[in-house]
């Protein structure tokens, strides 16, 4: 197994994408999951459905619409380009945005069941003690659902590493910018560099195994 500096760069980029995506998902996922878990709104099933859709839709659906929406000639892409000089096609921020949408259910669903697993009386008790919802969230709910937080973080991270279709469609395969490990494997296989593809693949297997293991380890530890 030979590890070139290009491979290291690609792997680091992959980890960078997964980390950025996970951080944003954590920040966005907590309020979304909170709303879904506790809101009496009638819109809730629609929101839940929308968030779950990346689980079943082919990534190409998302990739296709991102390509259409985010290209600088399109409405959204044009506005972003002229207002912030931001391009979401062929750029790292674009991959982050796509990954956030694509991995959303992997963060929101564990958090949602985490919120629901906490007895309602705990949040109510906190309210009777004069605490705001935000204080309750921070001090009572989140500390009470650490396993759910861990699941959400790990699953989003791992799922982003495993992302392929969306990146293939809107990434542009730029080394150091949008060429992540999954794309690199595809490329290497296509030019018959099986050894390089194997190196990437083995590293991904190792990385994902070692980040997923703690989640399930913890689960079985709690059962026994």
């Amino acid at each position: 197994m030979e590890l070139t500096s290009e491979m290291v760069g690609t792997l680091l980029l992959t980890l960078k994408l997964a980390s950025a995506t996970t951080l944003i998902l954590l920040a966005a996922g907590i309020p979304i999951a909170y709303w879904i878990a506790f809101s009496p709104s009638r819109l809730r099933p629609f929101a839940e459905t929308l968030i779950s859709m990346p689980l079943v839709l082919p990534p190409t659906v998302l990739g296709f619409y991102f390509l259409i929406a985010f290209n600088p000639a399109g409405a959204v892409g044009g506005a972003l380009a002229s207002l912030f000089d931001l391009r979401l096609v062929f750029s790292f921020p674009g991959l982050v945005v796509a990954s956030v949408v694509y991995s959303l259910p992997f963060m929101v669903q564990p958090l949602q069941s985490g919120f629901r697993s906490i007895p309602a009386s705990l949040a109510e008790a906190s309210a009777t003690l004069g605490k705001s919802r935000f204080q309750t969230l921070l001090r009572v709910l989140l500390p009470g659902m650490k396993p759910a937080l861990l699941s959400g973080i790990v699953l989003s991270f791992a799922h982003t590493i495993g992302e392929f279709g969306v990146v293939l469609m809107i990434g542009g395969n730029i080394p150091g910018v949008t060429r992540v490990a999954s794309i690199a494997i595809y490329d290497e296989v296509e030019v018959l560099h099986y050894a390089a593809a194997n190196t990437y693949a083995l590293i991904l297997i190792g990385v994902t195994f070692s980040i997923l293991l703690p989640v399930y380890w913890k689960r079985s530890a709690r059962i026994w």
Binding site: L67, L168, G172, N173
Partner: protein, 260 residues
């Protein structure tokens, strides 16, 4: 006691299963020949197969992909009978490894095109890339797509590579380059003539041929895959040979290819 004979009786459910497999196998045996087509040639393949059908009455199915992906699939037993590659290297590799029935043969030379749909004037050739409106340049992956390699060669020969390399985004094949250019995600891109000639190409003001002196020729070879029965091989060869008839050659010309 030694049984003198055994009667094999197929029970009704087994008979159904048997029938099912029989149908599948006969279906396979009677199937149309399949041609694996490099992305750049996908636009002319309907014309080509129509012409073949008119000439022989036989139907050809096509599968489109990058030459690299298709070759890799053929190596791993994909049910393709003929490969129309975008280069000669992949077909030669298959031939060397005994996967091709005959030596590959060049059916056409590709023509590199510079194409934009965002109103950038391309008539001046490669200098269009220096237009400040150009933020992204779509190029097929030079590692596996001949048109990508030709584009990079042209940029280097034209002395523009260093100036524009940071703007290059790589498509998996010319098909993805076309998709980037057509959706305007990239302002400009290097593609094959067939793409712009076909309906996807559209307006003639949007594209220009890249000076052929700037890049090495793009010979595109075809081959017959070694697989199936002698009958299959004969049918595959029939289509392969059709590629070199005047009728097929006129189609290649019409889509901007040059002929060997």
């Amino acid at each position: 006691m030694i049984p003198t004979g055994t009667t094999y009786r197929i029970s009704p459910p087994r008979r159904l299963v048997f029938l099912f497999f029989l149908l599948i196998f006969t279906g396979l045996a009677l199937r149309a020949q399949t041609v694996a087509v490099a992305a750049n040639a996908q636009y002319l393949i309907p014309d080509l197969t129509d012409a073949f059908k008119r000439a022989t009455g036989k139907t050809i199915r096509s599968v489109v992909g990058s030459s690299g992906a298709l070759s890799s699939q053929i190596r791993n037993g994909a049910p393709f009978d003929v490969l129309l590659s975008a280069d000669t290297a992949y077909p030669m590799g298959l031939w060397r490894d005994g996967i091709a029935l005959d030596t590959p043969r060049v059916y056409a030379f590709g023509t590199l095109i510079l194409w934009s749909k965002t109103g950038i004037s391309v008539k001046g050739g490669l200098s269009a890339l220096l237009d400040p409106a150009v933020k992204k340049i779509a190029v097929a992956n030079p590692r596996n797509a001949p048109y990508g390699a030709a584009a990079i060669a042209a940029l280097q020969a034209g002395g523009l590579y260093d100036a524009v390399s940071s703007k290059i985004v790589y498509g998996e094949s010319v098909a993805q380059v076309n998709q980037y250019v057509d959706s305007r995600a990239a302002e400009i891109g290097f593609t094959s003539s067939s793409a712009v000639v076909s309906a996807a190409g559209g307006d003639a003001r949007e594209w220009v041929r890249v000076d052929t002196s700037l890049y090495p020729p793009i010979p595109q070879a075809a081959l017959v895959v070694r697989r199936g029965s002698p009958g299959d091989a004969a049918r595959a060869r029939e289509f392969f040979q059709f590629l070199f008839t005047p009728e097929a050659r006129s189609i290649f010309l019409r889509y901007g290819y040059r002929l060997p």
